[in-house]
Amino acid sequence: MLAETEHSVLAGDGADASNSTGTAGAKCLLQARNLSKSYSGFLALNNMNLDLRAGEVHVLFGENGAGKSTLISIICGALAPTAGDVVLDGNVLQMSSVKDARDQGIAAVFQEFSLAPELTVEENMFLGAEVAQSGWLKKSRMRHAATQALAELGFKLDPGAIVAHLSRAECQMVEIAKAVMTDPRVLILDEPTASLTEAETNVLFALIERLKAKGVGMIYISHRIDEIRKIGDRVTVMRDGQYIETLDARTATKTELVESMTGRSFGDFYPKLNFRPGDPVLSIDGLATLDGRVSDVSLNVRAGEIVGLAGLVGCGKSEIGRACFGLEALASGEIHFAGERLRHPQPRHLIQKGMNFVPSDRMREGLLMGRSTRENLSLSALFQKEFSNRGFLRRKREVKFANEMGERIGVRPLRIEGAVSDYSGGNKQKVMLGRAIASPLRLLILDEPTIGIDVGAKAEVYALLSELVQDGMAVLLISSDLPEVLSMSNRVYVVRQGHIADELVAERKTEDVALKSFFGQE
């Protein structure tokens, strides 16, 4: 069954992780030895080595699809390797489930949550490890322990709250609390700060410091370079399922990391943009949504410019974009698009008029996961004469279009008939973008267009946006990535508690000014 590919020819070269810098002298806690994993002939992980010392934060760095997730899934017992071992304290581990790993003291916090949404925070924290006596739950004891644990962690969470009612950031905290409660010796954190605010991130970092002091070894996946320098001890770079190199996290530069990760060198990360703004394409006046998360918002976006919406997670910036596309019930205010007032915005009509929206949640709202890349790319453009004639599809044209669009947006490897779910996050994001620009467009609204995608894919998304804007399209860029929104936008509106707190133009478009207005003046 195991197919011979050219990957295995390279196996074994440069894969020695032992000669590395950092917390020298500390004893080796966990080792991944020559781990490989193949999926029906495709090598997701190829002879990978990694060593983790007690009390260090070891960062895994690499593009989406580089094999990081496969590696940590094996270490935490969720996947069985095709070859190789996981070694803890010098003993080879035999694990067939996450529970086996947990019993050995290995705990993991994944990006995809493993919480039961209808249960409470406390019930989730004890899930699988309930305190019970002859089958009867000891609820008050658990409540007490949960309250205490959360307080110790510094997380402001109500143990009785139903998880389904929590924000993404809060769910993330519950996941972390759940993992830490098992008192692990090895803790795996997969992009834990992706949905956290600044303050929450600081709480998490403080926790990481405490765990370090206790001698817990942590494997930490992150795409944020500042973060890596702040809390990491060593960084191991992966590419194409293979070990590339291990660097000292404090001294590694951004260029060094990015080049090592992508295997190619980068010039300036963000493209140089020369905006030539034209007439307003979108103008919003006194907009409020029925749920009250947006109130009295007025802004405009002109042709040929990117306008940013920045603000903390949950500040309502995303809802502004969604409201324009008809995804939020409106309470009051006016939306004008291309000189026409939108009374009852609906995706279908808006797409035909030349507005499109790329949602932030690829899985829930973005893609038809089980369907092919071709079908995903053409989906919102099928109404056009080019793709259908009296309800019948023009499939040859569709195939041609999918191939061309796939090339243009840089989906690699391009397999238009393969299920889109097989692609990495970066490719999925590109497919969503490709779908949005498939029909003639005047305004594109992007909600967190680079969340969870690697630096290489980000650069390609930026290049595509700059190309679109040069052609005179208007872009509303909603992003929690502050450097991104500041660098890519002509103007940035800061959203705070559902209203526009500030508009940053020219020399006021800096991180300092933006952050101040994120939190208000007080």
Partner: protein, 330 residues
Amino acid sequence: MTQKTLPQKLGAHLEPVGAIPVIVVLFIIFFGILEPRFLSGDNIFNLSRQSSYLILACLAQFLILLTGGIDLSVGSAISLASVVCATVMKSFPEAEGAAVSLGVLAGIGTGGLVGLANGIGVAYFNVTPFVMTLGSLSMALGLALYISGGYSIAGLPSGFGDVFSYADVGGVPVPIIYAALVIIAVYLLLTWTQAGRYIYAIGSNVQAARLSGIPTKQYLLFAYVAAGLIVGFAAVLMTARTESGEASLGGSDLVLKSVAGCIIGGVALTGGKGFVRNVVLGAFFITLLSNGMNLLRVNSYLQTFIIGAVLVLAIALDQLREKMTGRKTV
């Protein structure tokens, strides 16, 4: 990098085909060895003819499963359509041609109306498909029994039975031809039209479909009505076969068999996945199983048990396959 090995290439070609053709062939050989009469020309003919009705029910079920729903009302919609078809046909005793035409239209239309009701409930009132069709199961059956008074409505024009059941065209029985026409129509709908693509999209991710500008409610309704019309047509063919309208025509096992045929044909219960060809083979397989068991004189109560077991087994094997190939585990 993109060079593929032979097994991979084979796998890629076989994947959409699935295991079902292999299973069908294996069972034909299996029954053929145990009971040589099974392979006689008469029996194969009979088998194809029998399977036409289930193929129609499965295709209707397939359209609904594709949207991520389930249609529990297939059986009782057939009962109702049969009773309405027969009642209308008997209302015009003096003009046979007109009576048959009107009866057939009434039967198909009744199926369409049940589909319309289901579709409105599901698409516009957000009733879950399970509950909606469970309700219409009871409603349609109740109406069928009410209209017929619980008796079979016999004495239909003889031309009706001929044209819709007993005639043949060049030696091929008409039910097979009607089923083939519907198979082609559903295939064209799903593969070559915008509506078909949208049905797949809705089942795969309704929210993504909406954000891509698809009027999801309209197409959901469309799927239910189309399924209803197919059910109505199946009812007409079945009424012609028994030459009477009967409230017991659908029966509860038809729902089970229609779902089983789809599942065995690889249709995902979560929606958005499945092929017409495999559904047809799935339906054929179920009929083949019944037919083979009849020839082998398997107790009929035991047959009911076996069909249920096959359904559960098919789902379990499918889950196992997904686990083994490492798919769908993110």
